[in-house]
Structures are given as C-alpha cells and as structure tokens.
Symmetry: C2
Subunit: 653 residues, 2 copies
Amino acid sequence: MQIHYRGYEANDPRIKPAAGFGVDRATDMPDEMDVLVVGTGPAASVVTAQLSRFPSINARVVERRPGRLEVGQADGIQARSVETFQAFGFAGEVIEEAYRNVEMCFWKPDHDDPSIIVRTSRAPDDATGMSEFPHIYVNQSRILDYFLRDAVRAPGRIVPDYGVQFVDCTIDQDAPYPVAARVEYVTGPRAGEMRTVRAKYLVGGDGARSRVRASLGHGLHGEAALHAWGVMDVLANTDFPDIQLKCSIQSHDAGNILLIPREGGYLVRIYVDLGEIDELDGGAVRSTPVEAIIAKANRILHPYSLDVRAVTWWSVYEVAHRIADGFDDVPTDLVGIQTPRAFIMGDACHTHSAKAGQGMNVSIQDGFNLAWKLAAVLEGRAPETLLSTYAAERRVVAQNLIDFDKEWSEMMARPVDSWEDPTELERYYVATLEFPAGFMTQYAPSMITLGTEDHDLAAGFPVGKRFKSAEVIRRADNRWRHLGHFHEADGRWRLYVFADSAAPALSGTPTAEFADWWSTDPASPLVRFTPVGGDSDAVFDTKVIYQQDYTLVEPSAVPNAFKPVKTPLGLIDINQIFAAGHGRDIFRDREISRDGAIVVVRPDQYVAAVLPLSAREELASFFDGHMLTPVETSNPASDQDVPTITIAERTAL
Amino acid sequence: MQIHYRGYEANDPRIKPAAGFGVDRATDMPDEMDVLVVGTGPAASVVTAQLSRFPSINARVVERRPGRLEVGQADGIQARSVETFQAFGFAGEVIEEAYRNVEMCFWKPDHDDPSIIVRTSRAPDDATGMSEFPHIYVNQSRILDYFLRDAVRAPGRIVPDYGVQFVDCTIDQDAPYPVAARVEYVTGPRAGEMRTVRAKYLVGGDGARSRVRASLGHGLHGEAALHAWGVMDVLANTDFPDIQLKCSIQSHDAGNILLIPREGGYLVRIYVDLGEIDELDGGAVRSTPVEAIIAKANRILHPYSLDVRAVTWWSVYEVAHRIADGFDDVPTDLVGIQTPRAFIMGDACHTHSAKAGQGMNVSIQDGFNLAWKLAAVLEGRAPETLLSTYAAERRVVAQNLIDFDKEWSEMMARPVDSWEDPTELERYYVATLEFPAGFMTQYAPSMITLGTEDHDLAAGFPVGKRFKSAEVIRRADNRWRHLGHFHEADGRWRLYVFADSAAPALSGTPTAEFADWWSTDPASPLVRFTPVGGDSDAVFDTKVIYQQDYTLVEPSAVPNAFKPVKTPLGLIDINQIFAAGHGRDIFRDREISRDGAIVVVRPDQYVAAVLPLSAREELASFFDGHMLTPVETSNPASDQDVPTITIAERTAL
C-alpha cells in the first residue's frame, strides 16, 4: 500500500478522498450519465468498483432488489478470483473469512458392500502451485459486499441505486448519449414510476433472465435438456467424517452429492443431483420439498446420517448449458466497423451447472475485462475500438467454460456402475484443475495482446495468460514481496523490465539504454501518452528487476525511468526497484533470459507482450494501436516547479 | 473465524449483534458504571476493546481530545503486539498497511575517511523464528483506530466519551461504587461542566502526566537526568540508499540518528539524538527549531544529503527512565489483604526512551493483562483477589523494560570513538532481540500461573511465557493452521490436550480417560465452572492434538470432551480436533512428550501450566484458586432440549 506521497494521510488509507462525481455524489439518478450498469451481481460489482476509481466518469448502478443480497447463490471462489480481490485490496479479508479448500475427498460404494459408501481417495487442491492464492468458499453476498465497499471507498463514491429495475432500451449511434434506457422504480416512495435515462454505455449484469440481453435482441442458445439440482445450505450434526471437506459422493443407487463446506466451520452446502429433465416438464421438479432433498441426501450418505438442525437457504433449479449469440450490441456483420455501446456479462451471456464452481468467477473476469476498457475510452486515453475486444475475448472464454462444465457435470452425474475405470473421476479432476482455478484463459493476439515471437525470453509468462506472480526483493525496504501483488486495479499498464546481467548502471547497458529511451525519447509511449503535470507513472507503471542479489543494488545506480516522480511534492519513488535475494530468483522461477526481457501486462493482469530489451518500434506501435495522446492541459513546467517545504506544527509530547 | 453456529449470519461476520449495555447504548455518561477508563492510548484502547466483548459490563471511556488521534507519537510495533492484534481479529489488516521490518542496517564513519558514513553491517529482524508475526511500523493512531473499531463492532458497542477530562478521584472501599471520579467536559456544548461519576473500577491510561496516578498518590521515580530527542516524520528525496530501512547511523562527530521507515513507502521517522540535559535546563531544548534538526540530520548523513519536502509531524522532547511507585491503589502494607479498585497502565507507570520502540507495545500488554481479569471479576466468574495479580505481574515487566531500554539507549547515544569493539552495537542488538520483540515476559508463579515441575512434558511452552504457536492440521477441514491463532481475546481459558501415542479412542487411553473426567466428573473445572444452558465451551476452550497424521483421525473416535455443543441448535463442534500432517508435527516443534501433556493457557495467551495427562487434583485446585461457581440461572435441561428444525423459505433461482 503506497500512501502519504502527496502528504500525510491521517485516516484509514483504504478510504480515498472523494473526487469528481464522487464529491457530493447525486443521490438521485441523473437524466444523463456515462455508464449505466444493470445489476449488482459479481460482474456488475467489479465494474462498479473499477469505475469508481475513475471519478471523472459518471456511472450509475441500478439494482431491482431494495438492498444488498443477504444469502444464497454462488459460493465457490477460484484462485484467479482471489488474485482479482487482491488487485482491489481485499483478498486478505476474504481469505480470513472464507472456508479454504485444501483437499477434495471422493466417496464411493464399498467394493464388498455397495450399500455403504467409503472414502476412496483424496486430491490436494493445488499440488502444482498454480497460484499463491487459495481456493475458497464463501457466500456470494460477501464478495458483493467487498466490491461495493471498495466502490464507496474509491474517489467516485459509487453506491447502487437500489429498487430500480431496468426495463428496456434503444440505441441511437448518433446521439451524444446513444443509449436510451427505460427504468422503473420498484420499491420505495417512487415505486411504479417509469423514467428514461440516457447513457454513453450500457452494461448488463442482470442474470440469466437478462432484460438487457433481451433488449439487444440476443438469445441464449445451447442444450434443450435441463438438469435439475436440489441445493441447500444446512447446519447439521452427522457421523459422516468429512462434512467439512469438499466431497464428491457417489452412492450405489441413491444418487450423487457434491458437498461444499462453507465459511465459519459449521455450514455446508449440499448439491443433490435430481437428474435430467425435459424442458416440457414445466418446472414440476421445482416443487420438490426440502424434506425430500434431505431424505435423498441421507440415502446417499448411508451408512452415515445427516441430522439437519437448520436449513438456512435452499432451492431447486434447472439449468442448461447455453451461451448468448452476442456479447455486445454490434451486429455480426458490423463487427470491426461499428463499436459497441452495450455489453452483457456473467449469467446474462452464459449459463451452466454449479458443479464446477465457475459462475461467479467467470463473471468477475467478464467485469474486470470490460471495466478498464470503458474507463480508458471515457477518459480519452483509448479509442472506442478498444471496446470491441470485450466480446471477442470473453466469448471464447464462455464457450470454453461451457464445454468444460458440460464434461465435468456429466461425469459427476454418471451412475457409478457405468464407469469403466473407477479412478477416472479423480484423475479428470486433478488433470483439469487449472481450468476451474481460472488459469486456462489465454487471450488471442489483438490490438491489446501481441504474438508469441519472443516468448522464449520469459517462458514463465505466457502471452495472453494472466501474469503469474513470483517473489522478488524490493530494494527500498529489502523485503520479499510478490511482484504481481503491486498490480492494483488502477487501470494502468505494467512494464516489467527484467534487466540484463550487467550490474545496475545509469548508462552503457541494454537496460540503461532502454530506460533512457523509455523515459526521454519523443517516440516512447511513456513520453507520448503520459499527461503532463501529473505523476510520471500515471499511465505506465514501470518496474525494473535486476538479477543480482539486492545487496548489490543501490538506488543511485538505477536509471530515472525506474524512479517515478510524484506530484505535488516532487518525491522520487524508489519503490519500483527489485532484485534477487534470500533464495528468491524470479529469473529462475519464470524462466527469464539472463539477457533480459520486457514483459508488458494489461490493466486486467493479462500478459500483453514479451519483448527483448532492444524493443523500441514494437512498443511504440503496440501502444499506438490502442492509446490516444493526451491533451496537455496542465503546466508543462511542473516537473521543475518544486513546491516550498510544508512543515507541520510542533507537537508537544 | 467460527460463524453461523447459532444460525445464518447474513452480515459482516466481524460485526457482532449488540447485547447488554450495547443495545441502545447511552450516549450520555451515566452517574454510575462498572468501569471508568481514562484515555484512549494503546493500553486504554485494548481495555476498551476487551471489555466491549462483555456486554453485561457497563464501561465508559473518557478522552480529553475532541476526537481520534490523527498523527504522531509511537510507531514501533513488535511481534508480540501483532499477536495481540490477531487475538482481536485485525492483525492481517495492520500488516498490510504497515511497514514491515526485515533487516536493520548499521552505518558508521568510514575507517579511512571518518568524515563520511558507510554501511558496516546488516542484521535480519527475526533470524531465529521468535514469532510467525512480523515487526512492523505504523502510526499509533491507526492501532488505536483498530482497537476502537473492534470495541464498536463488539456486542458492548463502546465508543469513547471524547472531550471529557479526568480531574481526580476518591475511593471509598465500602461504597457499592467505590470510586468517585470528578470529570470535566472540555469541548462541545457542555464545555466547562464538572461532574462526579461513580465506578466500581478505575483504569488510568492517561499518559506520562497521568492525573489518575496523581490521584492515587503515586509518583514516577528513577533518573534525574533527562535525555533529549528531536523527532520528525518527513517526506524527503535523498541519495542515502537505505532511507526505507531501519538504520542506526553513527557519525564521527555530528551525532547519531535512529531511522525508522514508515508505512506507505515514502514517509520516514528520524530520531536525532540531542544528548543528555539537566532537568534544571527548564526545557530550553524544546525550543530547538525543526530546521536545526534537519540540518543536524544532514551533517550526520554526510556525504549523503536529505532534501526534506515535507515535515508531517515533529517534536522535541526529553525523557527519563522512571517507574511509578505503585500500579494500583493498594498501599504497600495492604498488598494481599485489600483488593484494588484503581489501576494505572502504560506511560502512566513507566517512561523511557523511544529508541527500543517499546512504549506502545508494553502498554498494549498492560491493558491485555488487566482487562480479562476485570471482565472475569465483574461477570462473577472470579474473585476480586484476581485483580491483585495485575500490579504484581506488570511491575516486574516495567522494571525489566526500563533496565533494557537504559542500556540500549545508552549504547546508541555513545560516541563512536568510545567503543572498544566496533561490532558491539550490532552484536548486542542481535543477542537481545527477543526482548524488544516482546517475548521475554515470563510471569512468576501465582494464583493464575503454576510452577514448572512438569515443564519437561512440553519444553517448547515455557510456563509463564506467551504460548508460542505452531502449525497443526485441523481435522475438520484437513487444513494446516496455527494452533495459537484460534485463541481470540474472548476471556476464555485454553486447555490444549496433547494426546498420548495411542490412536484416537473413546475409552481406554490416558487421553480418553482424561477427557471423560474433564467433561463429566463433578470435580472437573469444566463441569464446576461452566454455566448451565450455554455453550459447553463457554469458559474453557478445550482442544485435542493427536500425534498421528490427520488421515488417521476420524472425528467419531474422538471423545465428546473435545467436541463442544453449541446453543441453541445443539450443533456439535468438530473444529477443536487437531493432528499432524504435511510435514507439520507440533510434538516435534514444541518438544512435547509422546506420552502426552496438558497445556493450560490464560485468556491473555500466557502459559499457566504444563501438566501430565494424569492431572486431576492439580487442575481442580488450580482453577478453584481463581474461579467462582456460576449461579445456575438457566434451564439445566437445555442440553436435551433440542429445538425444532428451522427451514428458510425456498429461493427461486
């Protein structure tokens, strides 16, 4: 947490001063706004938190519920989501509060007496070190709380407009606020009132029955058949020994359970498979009483029994694997010509089973992918074409998710007798763990992701995949840190300069020559795209990582490109210099060439490029493809305009 | 975090429902109260947070400032304090926010050119693994914020009464509210109003010029000479390479600096030694301007320079090593006869230099030591004699602190030329690190601490010292955890039952036999002192740790003594069962006998006893010495009185 650099911050450093639209934020929704977000689910909450960090953007969020979600819905949180929480500053709090999954147990009919179940195997959760973050379970409502708390703490101070339902919209490409949305107040004193508001962009995170999707004329397509589940959160006494462990439980002929332990040490969520049903069933399965689900769970658990003391939430639902035929409002034949004005995210564009614990997680990444792009365009830092990459990138992810989930849920639902190889389920689970953990996403080359030509220079940072953090020593305080954890959700691009093997020097090395170009050359993206008069790292967060032990790196030998200057005090920041030490060597851990490499990372933490230290034109043209030159409104002399020293009153002790 | 065991908690689990005096807590101070706390410094804040967890106690806290502390004062936080934050639930947040110290650097005059300083050595902060918690620096105001936030989140909902100054008090041992305290409103609409309020107990945490101390007739005694310091929090640019590291900087003839990096990556605190001064100096040194301190710092840092951009806080102060002649109101000749009604803590009873970073830390432990005892007495669980142990225990600690700090600050102030061995300062620093880290406190035998007769059964848990946590596997979720981190500041005693080498069994082993006695025998402290009708672990938190790998421990084979029952749902808690696994073996790490051992830990985390599994009479008489039998007001049949199942409404998805 970098604080105090503009002077002493006396209060909680997590609460930022209000700015822009966050100053005396209007309690009533205005008639016109930059962004209208529909819903406060996982995807919409991420967008809200991200946009609130850009207080020049007027974003409003409508939610038809009268207040926060209290209970129920998703609870599985993959490591990639926890990485994302880290970028928003609340991973530690969520981890403390959540159930942390370290081992999954598989229960099956006993070979000698199939009427009883026995534990047949255990699988560790992350045996290969996919992430330094854990796989956790906690109620979705808490995740929404954290994102929405972040939105209130951020300068934009965004609070959802509760009790407001999105009805429908029209889009007029030529209007200054192209989206005209009808909304209806459904609770509170204005209940029943209908309004039309106008926005530059519309973001639909309004669930599987999305009205935004309907307004855009899109449908969900996929399977006809529905799969039914009984799901319940229970507090229970039991002699089943693994009640607080994630378990797949397959009985001989009573059915299957997916058991998900929950936060707090007592609560468990039990998914009871109710089988495939015909869509023409008309929802009869939905009338299954909870007592029947409890009875079925007891039959599956035999010889153990479940004495349910409380059912704190439950549902019966049917789901099919389906995907929306469009993720934004651009017709297929205009892709690449017209830029989008409306987007859908999360369940609004992909539905699937809950078994792989993916819904909330993929939705969070939908939102993270979209929000920084919206901010860059609305702040005038990027062209509108950037927004076309949202649908292009996330549709692929959604399709992969559906394919994976189909296979996984089919396997979990399969009767025990039909398995040729009794260990197949565990083997599949272990072999494919990277997918549900969230790390299989790999964005294809585009205006914001380069090709893999120089991939060998940093093989541990595959282009298009999320930047996998590793430990380094920060030279300022000589403390080991996870390099990736400095990547906050602030919309900035990251440039990690892995230095060549020479000792740190101000000139005469490939690293120093790159640094000089990067910080001074008129063709350098840093020089071209950083607004004058602000922090010199406002657009690009440039960090250098030396191969040497930290005891051999002195800040005075490090080029200025890696020591940004902060307004208004002109403070020189020495926190962006890293090295090896105490057994930590990121060059080794991420297979980085000892000749050095440049790793470019997008604001949403995905690797955009791996380049040699000699790269100049490649960097210039890459950023030229999706950045706009800022209007120089500030005082260009401010770098030299050193303020007078400020001195506090003396305190008597 | 154990939650949901009384039903689903829909909100932030860190915010507990208000209860007792916390329900519609009176905004005006009442005329009579259980405890009057004076001050909101570190010691007083701990007491406030602890007492707020016992909402049957009416505690009020007066603070003469109009609101929270914003800046300045202490910033050094030792690992023992972070352990304590963990018990109050906010260690993770503080660590994220604070500077974390991993290495101290020593700078001295260059051998060849004494006019310049050079780095001569580095010392790691905790090379021996004293604690799993770090040594951190963060402004004192934030620590107070966290404790006071905890007080508001706890059921008692205690908020300080700001703008109220303690004036003086009288004590009448025979009155129902023995302490009559005069307080004056100093800010707000009632400014100038004087009131007399009455309390059962008075707790003075009102600093070095404590009025509570004066009212009790105590003085501070010790050195006559004063040592002067210039101290400033600055934002600066510098070519000194270790500006973000803890440094001792000794110049040839310009003086010495203690450099303390601070939270946020930019701020540093600089202590500049201004030398010994005579008390009769009359405070002339206090008029030293900050410019003179900056100039002196620059001379010490030569050849480096410090370009101060902002001074965010500064002071010049003099301090002597002094200790109060009494820590409570009991006259020396009545110790052991009369029980105390008033206490002083923190700077009110010990003053010393800031150099060892001890002030806030020792104060926190003063408060932690006192508060649980007050709660136990006021809730009728302990006799008033328990309160005598506060002064007995903390006076020894204060004297040790003053002895240590005297030696350390004398060494740091000594001119470079006067050292016989130039490495002596570093060697002393490394050799004595356990003291400033807070782990040298060892309480002597008393009514709440037994002797060391059976110490060999668990040599890694020295009796009288704080329980040093180690990793175990919790059997419920098969996850490794720090055993000590389950010890929250809830006033409960801990009984860690380290099992004998037999497999878990319901009978026939020393562990099972102890368990049976502990949970069912009329002579057992658990049976005698646990109120009927509540949770069976309300007074004693009993945990069992098996030697076996966790895969060999099934909850059904574990005696009921280690599976408490929670009201009102009658939920059986399986979270108190631990084992070895994944390379973790607490028996090895803490040198516990393979025949088993019982380790008793006080509510303030200090080891009270190590006993064999055969212990019965020792436990019975130990707890008999400081516990009172509860009045059975509840329904004795409630254990059998299983409520009906509660079932939530079905949620449509």
